[in-house]
Amino acid sequence: MMRFFKLTQQDWEKFLQHQSTQIAVVSMEKSKHPFKHILFPPHETLFYFRKDTHKELSEIKENKVLYYGLPPCDAKTIQLLGLNLLADPADPYFQTIRDNTVIISKACDHFEPNCFCDQIGGSPGALNGASAILYTVEDGFHLLVNHDWLSEQLVQMNFIPSEVENEKADFSKGSVPVREIKPLPIDHLREKGLSTISKTALWEKVSATCLACGICTFLCPACYCFDIQDISFGRVGKRERTYDSCLFSIYTTEASGHNPRPTIKERWRQRLLHKFTYYPMQYGEIGCTGCGRCISECPSHIDIREVIRDAEQYCE
């Protein structure tokens, strides 16, 4: 149930102070590193094993943590990754971290050069799966809460909630910047992306300067591909998962040596279509938050906004 709280600066600080006596409270802000690195770490032990007795032991720590100050594009990770990782059978590691993570995101007050959340149907003031979002207003904050435990915590501290009648309403009005900017043609890709599969000229153009280094996938809040590897120390060891990238040449290479995606063209096609065509076909949402990290960190400065526009030209 969604609730609305009006808080002054002091209220907010008092709330954080009180929470930090009970659980871990971490301040975040938009940085090069996506929140994904906390929710879905770069390497995670799945379980430990003993080779002789074949016993397996997994330990998933359940630590409740409150993160605040994240931009909405980072909060969206929880929603987007959840679509895949929580689908049956649910990934217990992600599930545990997610169930124990409370996110109070903060609506943005400016756009950075590579931000484009508002060009793909998002907004710098959207809730995006966070537990709550903080809007800065003249005399303090408006806090929109969509998390029962969090609501309870606030109510217990005598903050008075108002019920939200229309959950789809736009609460960010007046609190976030709005700009005149042309949206990206993602609807074309969503519906007709499959028609670009055979358009080699498009994929050649798009991947001409791509180094297949994988930075974009590592820093993308919506990318989740991982590898599983065993590491042993004599009779004991662990099975671990680490980040992987669909852009790496060995990602789909089979033991026989056959590679269904032999060149960077096919791999770029997979990256783009997976985000804007396949993910929507599977789960209804595009696999992109518009954060722009893939653009600013790419050594070749390949701009996914340009790629989307190019791809639209080839859709039938």
Partner: protein, 288 residues
């Protein structure tokens, strides 16, 4: 007209000529992105050359794009370090000299994101191209490092445990995205050693131990081949200081074998050639 604009006009003129008279099928250069960032680009025609530029933000080493187009006649713009990378690739038989048309130009150095001169450029001795098919004349800026501000010297003077501490800190930053490998023109192995699992040389885990194996081995594989262009260092999203180790490595190769990579066409890389009087003190004789 400011010097960079003048240079760009000259580059474009020569690039157009290369399409018209020298029969190139594509040109590797740079252009400005939507947001004003200089990025690598491939130009397929005379008309597209209007977008060709170079400026001090051009942090990408174009030589890393040459191998994927090696069946075609390639034109490219190249300053000191990029042309040296080409020489190494030519010396290693990775591309045919006849397939390259090199437009050489002098370099003022490349800046990093904070508009500071990049660590590869602060002591660059080769701003002018070492190989070219046509040349834009001009003064490249050769620089000496400031000994008071040289991290290689500073680390050299530290104890082993201090040096190890610094190295470990750097290795903790690495996320094993392999951008360094992909950005380097000389890292072109079809199957990199990290992607082999028979035998498994190192785990994929991005922890300090495995990251150390990755970085040290990559650098060792570059000994006698690295031209210290800095592309790897600039590509790294985590700011791992790769330059200090590559510079030290190049210094050691120079001391031991009197060799710097990519200066002369037709020579064998230092670690691919053997001379009877090569230094061998490191075999452990004489108490070393």
């Amino acid at each position: 007209m400011n010097p960079i604009d003048h240079l760009n006009n000259q580059l474009r003129e020569l690039a157009r000529k290369a399409f018209q008279d020298n029969g190139i099928e594509l040109l590797i250069g740079y252009q400005k992105g939507e947001d004003g960032i200089t990025k690598p680009a491939i130009f397929y025609s005379f008309e597209q050359v209007d977008l060709l530029i170079w400026d001090q933000q051009a942090s990408f080493n174009l030589a890393s794009l040459v191998r994927r187009f090696r069946d075609k006649k390639i034109g490219m713009i190249a300053q000191g370090c990029v042309s040296r990378s080409l020489v190494v690739l030519l010396n290693e038989g990775q591309i045919n000299r006849n397939n390259l048309f090199i437009i050489g130009f002098p370099c003022q150095g490349v800046v990093d994101r904070n508009q500071q001169l990049h660590s590869a450029c602060i002591d660059c001795q080769h701003p002018l191209p070492v190989i070219q098919d046509c040349l834009i004349e001009g003064d490249g800026i050769a620089r000496q490092s400031d000994p008071a501000n040289d991290l290689v010297i500073e680390l050299n003077n530290q104890s082993q445990s201090e040096r190890m501490a610094f190295f470990s800190q750097e290795m903790k930053k690495c996320i094993r995205c392999y951008a360094c490998r992909q950005a380097c023109p000389m890292c072109y192995c079809d199957v990199c050693f990290v992607d082999i699992n028979k035998p498994l040389w190192l785990a994929r885990t991005p922890d300090q131990q495995n990251n150390s194996v990755w970085n040290l081995t990559r650098m060792q594989h570059l000994a006698g081949r690295c031209v210290a262009c800095g592309a790897c260092d600039r590509a790294c999203p985590e700011g791992v200081n790769l330059m200090v180790y590559l510079k030290k490595m190049n210094q050691v190769v120079k001391e031991l074998y009197g060799y710097s990579a990519g200066l002369h066409l037709g020579e064998k890389p230092a670690l691919n050639a053997f001379q009877p009087n090569d230094p061998d003190f490191f075999w452990g004789k004489e108490g070393v």
